[in-house]
């Protein structure tokens, strides 16, 4: 749920990166954090285990500039991808304005991809959202790996509604900002529709 502050002239939106364990959600945020000017970002917070697996969420506040005199602030969150953290994932989806689904391109992660996508859809439904109506983009990460599945197959399995999708190599930044820009645009377009 976006929060609009007419007094301080700010629009605040929440974007959640979702996907199976080790698909690169945190890496997306880390890359954005490293490549953003200090004045445009806040502190990145990672609630992770000792082995750097996300335990609850990562959080990165980002300012994208002004629209008609309003500062646009995006709060980026990741969910923990591991299957048994489902209760935490549900909490993080509360109040979401836009979703990035990060898929893992590797053949052996296909089942985990599908399971995570179904989990996203059902968890959103539980919160009263419909994935088909929410600003939503798909990112296929790890495109540089030799066991990456061809794009057409990934699209067929993970993007049946043909939302905007992007190939990515998150540690190198390939596709990371394209994905973020696409979902941010959709969120702002949706805000306009709702006004």
């Amino acid at each position: 749920m976006s929060f609009i502050n007419y007094s301080s002239r700010e629009i605040n939106c929440k974007i959640v990166y979702y996907g199976p364990g080790l698909c690169g959600k945190t890496t997306n945020l880390q890359y954005i954090y490293n490549k953003t000017n200090p004045e445009a970002k806040g502190k990145m917070i990672s609630l992770a285990t000792e082995t750097e697996r996300t335990l609850f969420f990562d959080f990165l506040p980002l300012s994208l500039g002004e629209i008609r005199g309003f500062k646009t602030r995006f709060h980026l969150y990741t969910v923990p991808g591991q299957v048994f953290y489902d209760a935490s994932r549900k909490l993080i989806l509360k109040g979401v304005d836009g979703v990035v689904y990060v898929g893992d391109s590797q053949m052996e992660r296909m089942e985990a991809n599908i399971e995570s996508l179904e989990n996203l859809s059902s968890n959103l439904q539980e919160q009263g959202y419909d994935l088909n109506k929410l600003p939503y983009v798909v990112q296929y990460n790890k495109r540089d790996l030799p066991n990456a599945i061809p794009m057409a197959e990934l699209e067929e399995a993970l993007n049946p509604t043909k939302v905007p999708s992007f190939e990515a190599v998150a540690p190198k930044g390939v596709g990371v900002f394209d994905t973020l820009k696409a979902v941010a645009k959709l969120v702002l377009t949706e805000l306009r529709k709702g006004s």
Partner: protein
Amino acid sequence: MIQQLVMYEEELQQINRICEVLHRDSNAKAVLVIDKNGQAMASAGDVQELDVTSLSSLTAGNVAATGGIASLLAEKEFAGQFLEGEKISYHVSIIGQRVILVVLFDGRSSLGLVRLRVRKASGELVGVLETMVKKSQSGAGQPSVFSEITDDDIDNLFND
């Protein structure tokens, strides 16, 4: 359609005033009002040295996790939380099921005093929040700026 919560000048002033009175009367270091999704809405006291954005996000995460525990235990919610540190203590209460009121205090105050003052402030905040939600839903506060946003405005954000 995205549900929006909109803060207008009038309600912000009222919330700020409630925060300032609570800050003063409870001898607190700082008072924060945060929406349940982690956006900071208002504050009073020594907030310059605080990372309010991060505090808001983590507090909302904490409240959400506590709410999850409550529902597992068949409780409606745990309306308050208190964390005691060596120098700073952190008192959290959920107001009108919608926003979170945080009071940070040190040895100059006490849990009893904070609880007492929070109770009074909570009642006042509920009233302001109800007005705010009604205004957000009806769009009665002022004409929305968003209907005028063009595709170019959105594209220009990303021209870097």
